[in-house]
Amino acid sequence: MKKKTNIKTIAKAADVSQSEISRRGFLQKLWVALGIVALGEFLWMALSFTRPRKGSGSKNQAGAIVPAGSIESFASGSVTAFQRGAFYLVRLDDGGFLALSCKCTHLGCTVPWVEKEKKFICPCHASTFDMKGDVINGPAGRPLDLFPMTIENKVVKVDAGRRIKRGGFRPDQVTYAKNS
């Protein structure tokens, strides 16, 4: 009698231990998963801590309307650089205006306007752009970015906070003065 119960309990114990192994395995996996989640939380915390805050730096970006001046002060076929806002105000030969970003679309150098050749030539990797900002020579892959602009009462205003990436020059990107 005694022996029988012994065998039974042993068998039972073995059974339990077998089920316990899988339970232990499950719990172990659970712990690892929880650990990874905790690590992820810490990483997320660190990342969101270092991310640029919305409040800072937006002052000179969003709503940075730069009054460029009266339309008469820009001759047709001229390019004027504006340090504030980092853009070029281009007046095309037909009298239309374009506000082009100074930043080369290749790696972000400031592109100077070369009056002699009527081109923008990047000093870093020799990308060249025409007056409308289109790429003449690589390595730059896309034309110079645009800034939106308006002409109110013959005064040009450029929104230097909103950069528009574009695929190429289209006539509807040009702003003309009304009833000029």
Binding site: R51, L107, P112
Partner: protein, 463 residues
């Protein structure tokens, strides 16, 4: 009771002696050969080393002391870096001026900055050469695979440390070199713009950028470097010291002759370290670290170049569309470097310079082939090849990116199999030949960009 009375009767050492004994309970100068290994084990710093090292690994021509030099330079960096932290101000409006003040008014200010600057540059060179040494002596095979991976990571960290430190003076050189380096990130698909914004701390370079770079340069990267260095040294110890050098075809005895680390290895290391420190100090007295005019975001100097260790990458960008140059070419390269020790090589070449006699010959062939072909390709691409205008119908991503990249990869794969068949090479010898080819090409690109590119990044004759 009786014990304490006994103690009191014995002569007690003085306070100074007792403090000394609490730090060093055992004699520093070991009295016998036998005690020397024990001295090593009782010392926190020294116990990273094995107690005994194979005698043959002491040969200077195995390591040229490069690993030790790297460690010494890192220590020099930490020491001078901490000193610089007392003067430097990480704000765009104050940074440049604080460097001027450091150089003008602080006693030894200029020297400290020079040592920091030059040892940073030497560090890249030394770590690079150390990596080459490890590769060409076959010291990356088991059980040293993990050391290779840690070493590569350390190399990347050293590069990152140099790049982040380069911006800190906030002069024209630094500002524009960093602009183009960070500009490269934009071409990583999906996460590129996000990573770039995170690093810049906004959409353009400004005070947050400098703050980020300062934090990385003075805290994050040094901590990682020191931690990984400890790991790196410990792995060397676990591998039983360095790889044992031998000549081609030579069989090593079962049990190599061992000598105690103290003094045999320690003396050699100390000699290299002292010579190096003397050299760096001398160099820094003679040559000043460069500083340009203060940063002007409105004006990129012509030409604008990346720092010399990224000049090869910049040269690559002259020829390839950035997405391909950075992602595919360098991505593939780094992947290849990291998996290198985990490839199965049937022949055992551990400890033999260039693997075998045949390996030495093909390495030399590869050296010439790499040098000639890369010079040819650079010159041809500058004056003759112009895929963009030859195929005007196709998009630039294809003509400037996909097609040349495919050609390059085809050329490399073709070269690998050509060599393998022509010289009947084993896998390790062929891999090594390819490595020589790639490294030589990269060195030539670096030299071209740094010395032979002038106004508008056109090729010029520098001398």
């Amino acid at each position: 009771m009786s014990d304490s009375r006994l103690d009191r009767t014995e002569s007690q050492p003085g306070y100074v002696r007792r403090i000394w004994l609490s730090m060093f309970p055992f004699p520093l100068q070991s009295r016998s050969q036998r005690e020397r290994p024990r001295f090593l084990l009782r010392n926190l710093i020294l116990h990273f080393r094995p107690t005994l090292v194979p005698e043959r690994t002491l040969r200077f021509s195995l390591t040229f002391g490069l690993g030790g030099m790297a460690a010494v330079l890192v220590l020099l960096q930490l020491f001078t870096g901490v000193l610089l932290k007392f003067v430097y101000e990480p704000l765009p409006t104050l940074a440049y001026e604080s460097i001027g003040r450091l150089q003008g008014t602080f006693l030894f200010g200029r020297l400290i900055r020079n040592v920091h600057f030059w040892s940073a540059n030497f560090l890249i060179l030394v770590v690079f050469l150390h990596g080459l040494r490890v590769f060409f002596t076959g010291a990356f095979h088991a059980p040293r695979q993990m050391s290779w991976v840690i070493g590569l990571t350390l190399f990347l960290l050293v590069l990152a440390s140099n790049l982040t430190g380069y911006l800190l003076p906030w002069d024209q050189l630094a500002y524009w070199a960093t602009t183009i380096c960070v500009g490269m990130l934009e071409y990583i698909p999906l996460i590129g713009t996000w990573v770039q914004r995170a690093i810049l701390g906004g959409s353009q370079m400004g005070p947050p950028t400098l703050r980020n770079f300062y934090a990385f340069h003075t805290a994050v990267i040094p901590a990682l470097i020191v931690a990984l260095m400890a790991f790196h040294f410990w792995r060397v110890r676990k591998a039983g010291g360095l790889v044992i050098p031998r000549s081609p075809g030579e069989e090593l005895p079962e049990k190599p002759i061992m000598v105690p680390t103290v003094p045999h290895l320690l003396l050699r290391e100390a000699t290299v370290a002292l010579c190096l420190v003397a050299f760096v100090m001398g160099f820094s007295v003679v040559f000043d670290a460069p500083i340009g005019p203060p940063a002007n975001p409105g004006f990129s100097p012509n030409p604008t170049k990346a720092p010399w260790y990224f000049a090869g990458v910049q040269e690559m960008l002259m020829h390839f569309h950035p997405s391909f140059a950075l992602l595919i070419v360098f991505g593939a390269l780094f992947y290849a470097f990291f998996v290198l020790p985990y490839v199965y090589y049937p022949s055992a070449t551990k400890g033999i310079w260039f693997g075998s006699v045949n390996g030495r010959r093909t390495a030399l062939v590869s050296l010439c082939a790499g040098a000639i072909s890369s010079v040819l390709v650079i010159v041809l691409d500058e004056y003759v090849i112009d895929l963009v205008s030859w195929m005007p119908g196709l998009s630039q991503t294809l003509t400037n990116g996909a097609i040349p990249t495919a050609l390059l990869i085809l050329a490399l794969v073709g070269y690998y199999f050509l060599l393998k068949r022509r010289f009947k090479l084993s896998r390790i010898e062929a891999t090594q030949a390819l490595m020589v080819f790639v490294v030589v090409s990269f060195v030539i690109m670096t030299v071209t960009c740094y010395f032979f590119r002038g106004q508008g990044m056109r090729l010029t004759w520098a001398f």
